[in-house]
Amino acid sequence: VSIGFEQALVARARDGDAAAFDEIVVAHRDRVFALACFSLRDRHAAAEVAHEAFVRLFRSLDTLRGEARLGTWLHRVTLNLCHDVFRERQRQMTRVPIERAERLPASAERADPETMALARASDAAVREAVAKLPAPLREVIGLRFGAELSYAEIAATLQWPLGTVCTRLQRAMKLLEQELTTPS
């Protein structure tokens, strides 16, 4: 979708065109939901977050000025909402501190892809492990594999340098491997 077309849709929605707003929702719904799924693990909560993200989009139509792509805006709002939900749950979660992730040497603990735990674990186990990641790493995973963004798009969404996005994704994968290897 070109940025011009996207801005035209927003303008129509702002003018009260329900069909234009619906078109925006349909275009972004799957990715926003998937991003929330990766961030929250719980599909029901993810649906609520995605719903709220679009409600906020609707309420913000008048203030959207086209500086950022609509997807970028929606993904940021979705992540913020996921943060809110996560904060609620924080005390109940066993979380890996970010310091532990930051200390992992970038090229250590090389796994054989044939036997790596991440490749062999069930979807549910992987989601569980993703939910235990520190927030910044969880966000990268969600944006990459839920919202299906490129690294450059993730950098724009999170306003991080591209290199930071890459190294955090690498760390996230290693922590996932570590989490899935560790007997519960």
Partner: protein, 233 residues
């Protein structure tokens, strides 16, 4: 500090390494077993995480239905939308300027798409086709146009409250085109006179009598317009 090109490894694993850095990375990989293993790990991780299904199920699809999202957004709306829809937001009609024709009404996204869940929303659906004489509308003073828009908003709000409103849309101020065996009659430019089909509403009513009684209360009628009532098959 790592001497391995970690960032480029990640970009390469994700298929996003710029062309001008690929040769250097491939040369490094030739000589670095650790990076080859790292690349294999990253690729396998990418593939695995991509394969995780997060498709929207029917249950979550309901929460993400466009109508439900718009319904959730309807109250409270953003201040500007509230201002624009001041007279008619609850009804699904907003007031705005439209060319030389003065104030008009239109469906707003602040309104739920349908009211099937509202108590009282039962019975067959009728279409109310709004027909107006353009010359009469143009003759209305700005205050009268504003009054008409406000009255339309109130009328639609009442229908919604009663669970009768099932949809509607304003049509552009143009005659459009008429297709027949004789060909296509392009009437788009002929909107300065004659009768114009300016919009439609879908309402629920027990039968023709009730639908007609509702149509008779449409403010468009008192402002000189006509409302055709047709039951949806």
């Amino acid at each position: 500090m790592s001497t391995h090109p970690d960032v480029d490894l990640v970009l390469h694993a994700g298929g996003e390494l710029p062309d001008d850095r690929r040769a250097a990375l491939l040369a490094h990989l030739e000589t670095c077993a650790a990076c080859r293993a790292e690349l294999a790990f990253l690729r396998a991780g990418e593939e695995r995480l991509r394969s995780i299904s997060v498709a929207i199920s029917a249950e979550q699809g309901d929460a993400l239905a466009t109508g439900r999202i718009r319904a959730g957004a309807a109250m409270p709306a953003s201040p500007a939308l509230r201002r624009r829809a001041f007279f008619a937001a609850a009804a699904g009609l907003a007031v705005g300027a439209s060319g030389g024709a003065g104030l008009t009404w239109r469906l707003t996204s602040a309104a739920p798409a349908a009211t099937a869940s509202t108590p009282g929303a039962s019975g067959p659906v009728f279409m109310l086709l709004i027909q107006e004489l353009v010359s009469e509308r143009l003759a209305l003073a700005p205050d009268a146009l504003r009054d008409r828009s406000r009255a339309m908003g109130d009328w639609m709000a009442r229908l919604r409250q009663e669970g009768r409103f099932a949809g509607g849309q304003r049509l552009r101020d143009e005659a459009g085109r008429l297709v027949s065996r004789a060909g296509v009659d392009d009437r788009a430019g002929r909107v300065d006179a004659g009768e114009l089909l300016s919009g439609f509403f879908l309402i629920r009513a027990s039968g023709y009598d009730e639908a007609t009684a509702i149509a008779a209360t449409c403010p468009i009628v008192s402002f000189g317009g006509r409302v055709a009532v047709r039951q949806v098959a």
